[in-house]
């Protein structure tokens, strides 16, 4: 195959974001870029919104219908694709450290040790984590929230009185994610490693060997694979068997001389988009390791911070640390 046939670079439409891209997502069929300077760009016309006024945005989460942002003004804002916005919470100027979206309109956010869950009807529940809540993730089923913190992660049912169940593991846990079947909980750690628990019996799983921290996770559409950033290739752990990745070697996709900074699995195929610190993006097919170039390295545009696929998987949006962004449309 010639170089041109292997490349999708001609199919990328650039977008000038102009500030650090926190999240690049599709909300339904509309593209959305969340920027650290407080701007949210929505839709193909590039409408620029300021859901947090003059303040900056620190964290974001999105699903098919909603975009959630947490700012350095302490506000949690729900923005719709028509540009309308609703303030769901206000922590009075305290930085919002994490946000998450669950089923049926439920959302959660945290600032310091304080974790707030808001159900789809607007009912609020609050819990104080033992130390700062670093990451939040809703379980795929039921109104249940995982909170990662120092020395472990806690599982909280906001609508029950009982104390959250803590899964202990020494060290500082950063981001947290449930496997799509709800069997496993995985955190990234300060010590350049991942930790996992099989929830049925609490069995610990260590996934180590990373040269830097993992700050991006992505589950494959079938739920059998977890792609992770933090190494010179996307490290992809198998979760199909009952023991998850225990005793198995991970796949390595897209080995390059630059660290992977973001990963995003295609919503319908075993293809993973891999973004690197030098701004390069590759698509990699898990079955045979075949690679397609989406975007060549451009060191000055900074690391790829976020990537997101449209629901059908025809388009993918991305953004970088230095404010470059674009949309790939597959042939």
């Amino acid at each position: 195959m010639s170089e041109t046939q292997e490349s999708l670079t001609q199919r990328v439409e650039p977008i000038h974001a102009g500030a650090h891209v926190i999240a690049a997502r599709f909300i339904g069929d509309e593209l959305a870029l969340v920027l650290a300077d407080g701007v949210v760009i929505i839709g193909s016309h590039g409408t620029r919104l300021h859901p947090h006024g003059e303040a900056g945005i620190l964290v974001s989460a999105a699903d098919d219908t909603m975009l959630l942002t947490g700012g350095d003004d302490g506000k949690i804002v729900y923005t719709r694709v028509d540009g309308s916005a609703t303030i769901l919470g206000d922590e009075k100027g305290r930085w919002i450290d994490a946000v998450a979206i669950g089923a049926s309109g439920a959302v959660a956010w945290s600032t310091g040790k304080k974790v707030v869950a808001r159900d789809g009807k607007g009912g609020l529940k609050e819990w104080l984590a033992p130390t700062t809540a670093q990451g939040l993730a809703f379980a795929p089923k039921g109104y249940r929230l995982a909170v990662s913190h120092y020395n472990g992660a806690s599982l909280w049912f906001p609508n029950t009185e009982g104390k959250p169940e803590m899964r202990e593991w020494k060290g500082s846990h950063l981001d947290v994610t449930f496997s799509p079947d709800g069997r496993f909980l995985v955190t990234s750690m300060q010590e350049n490693t991942l930790h996992g628990w099989r929830l049925a019996d609490g069995k610990d799983m260590r996934m180590s060997g990373y040269p830097s921290k993992t700050r991006s996770f992505a589950w494959s559409h079938d739920g059998y694979w977890l792609a992770t950033s933090g190494a010179d290739a996307a490290i992809i752990w198998p979760f199909k068997d009952k023991d998850g990745p225990m005793g198995k070697a991970p796949r390595e996709c897209g080995v390059r001389h630059s660290k992977v900074s973001a990963v995003a699995f295609h919503p319908r195929a075993l293809v993973v988009a891999i973004g690197y610190e030098d701004s390069c993006i590759l698509l990699c097919r898990l079955t045979d390791g075949a690679e397609l170039l989406v975007r060549p390295a451009k060191q000055e545009e900074g690391r790829v911070t976020s990537m997101g696929w449209s629901k059908a998987g025809h388009r993918m949006i991305f953004g970088t640390e230095e404010g470059a962004a674009g949309v790939l449309t597959l042939p």
Binding site: G56, W95, Y150, M189, Q190, E191, K213
Partner: protein, 319 residues
């Protein structure tokens, strides 16, 4: 990659004048924009646009190094700040009066994301001239803060006599042999005395003046001290490097800071090193000048340091 953002750490016991110094730094007409990280958010008026509240959460790194602690909240805040490039030129971290500066300093060496974007400029400790002697008896934190300092702002000198001041200065010197001391009232010190010091930059360790120690035996502190050594002649790196690595690994929890300038055998350049607990950094610097005496100087600041043992070990490294 753009320039690393300089970070100044401001410590000092309760009531020493930290916040006064901070507000002085912020309001001087310097044209600089600061991001300020403070504890006890909102309690004291800080005159700045970008003020972030911190929890001072100290985490042990799960990496087998027992004294390797970092400030988890600081990692998160700096990560957040770095997304807003252009909003500020420098960061000031104000710690609580009871804080140990070590986890703050170590955060800038241990966390790769932080060290890639920010660099520790200096640890500034504000000291209350009137109450220091009492605090040294009652508050172990004060000793830590003095021991850790690159710059000491000896404040409230208008409240003590000349004799008392000299006495306080000796107490400080018995703990920290190399910090620069500025005597002030109402924390009035020029900005270039506290900002842009590059104290953690190996290239800026130009001189160490341990001679000063010779006349401070009067106020020798029992638990915290500086061990300063000057050796004429040359040192054998084949002997010294294994020793310093072993020594800082074994005594790391007790060694707060160390610095040294060494004359290695057959080496035309000066070797400089510095460390925080077990974290050690060293490199060859500029060449020895023809008129310079090729001698080695080093200072170790910490708890329960065995001066005789250190002297003996270093002697054994001579050519």
């Amino acid at each position: 990659m753009s320039e690393k953002i300089p970070v100044t750490v401001l410590t000092g016991y309760l009531g020493a004048g930290k916040t006064t110094l901070l507000n002085r730094i912020l309001t001087e007409p310097h044209g600089k924009k600061f991001a300020v990280i403070v504890n006890e958010f909102g309690e004291i008026g800080i005159d700045n646009d970008l003020v972030v509240g911190a929890d001072e959460e100290v985490f042990e790194m799960n990496n087998g190094c027992i004294c390797c602690t970092v400030r988890g909240d600081l990692i998160r805040i700096i990560e957040g700040l770095m997304k807003r490039k252009g909003k500020f030129d420098a960061i000031i971290v104000e710690t609580t009066g009871l804080a140990d500066p070590a986890p703050v300093a170590q955060t800038f060496f241990v966390d790769e994301d932080v060290s890639a974007r920010a660099r520790l400029d200096a640890v500034i400790t504000v000291v209350d001239a009137r109450w220091l002697k009492d605090q040294l008896k009652d508050a172990p934190e004060v000793k830590n803060q003095i021991a850790f300092a690159d710059v000491i702002v000896l404040n409230k000198i208008d409240l003590v006599s000349g004799e008392e001041l000299a006495d306080v200065e000796k107490s400080i010197r018995s703990i920290n042999a190399y910090a620069t001391i500025h005597k002030t009232t109402r924390s009035a010190v020029s900005l270039d005395a506290v900002l842009g010091k590059n104290a953690f930059d190996l290239d800026r360790i130009l001189d160490i003046a341990p001679e000063f120690l010779e006349d401070v035996h009067v106020h020798h502190d029992d638990t915290m001290q500086s061990v300063a050594l000057t050796l004429s002649g040359e040192i054998d790196p084949e002997k010294f490097m294994p020793w310093i690595n072993e020594f800082t690994q074994a005594e790391g929890p007790n060694i707060l800071r160390c610095k040294g300038i060494l004359a290695f055998k057959d080496e035309p350049k000066r070797f400089v090193f510095q460390g925080v607990h077990m974290i050690l950094d060293g490199d060859l610097q500029r060449e020895w000048k023809p008129d310079e005496v090729r001698q080695s100087k080093m200072v170790f600041i910490g708890h329960h340091l065995n001066r005789a043992a250190i002297e003996k070990a270093v002697e054994a490294c001579r050519v």
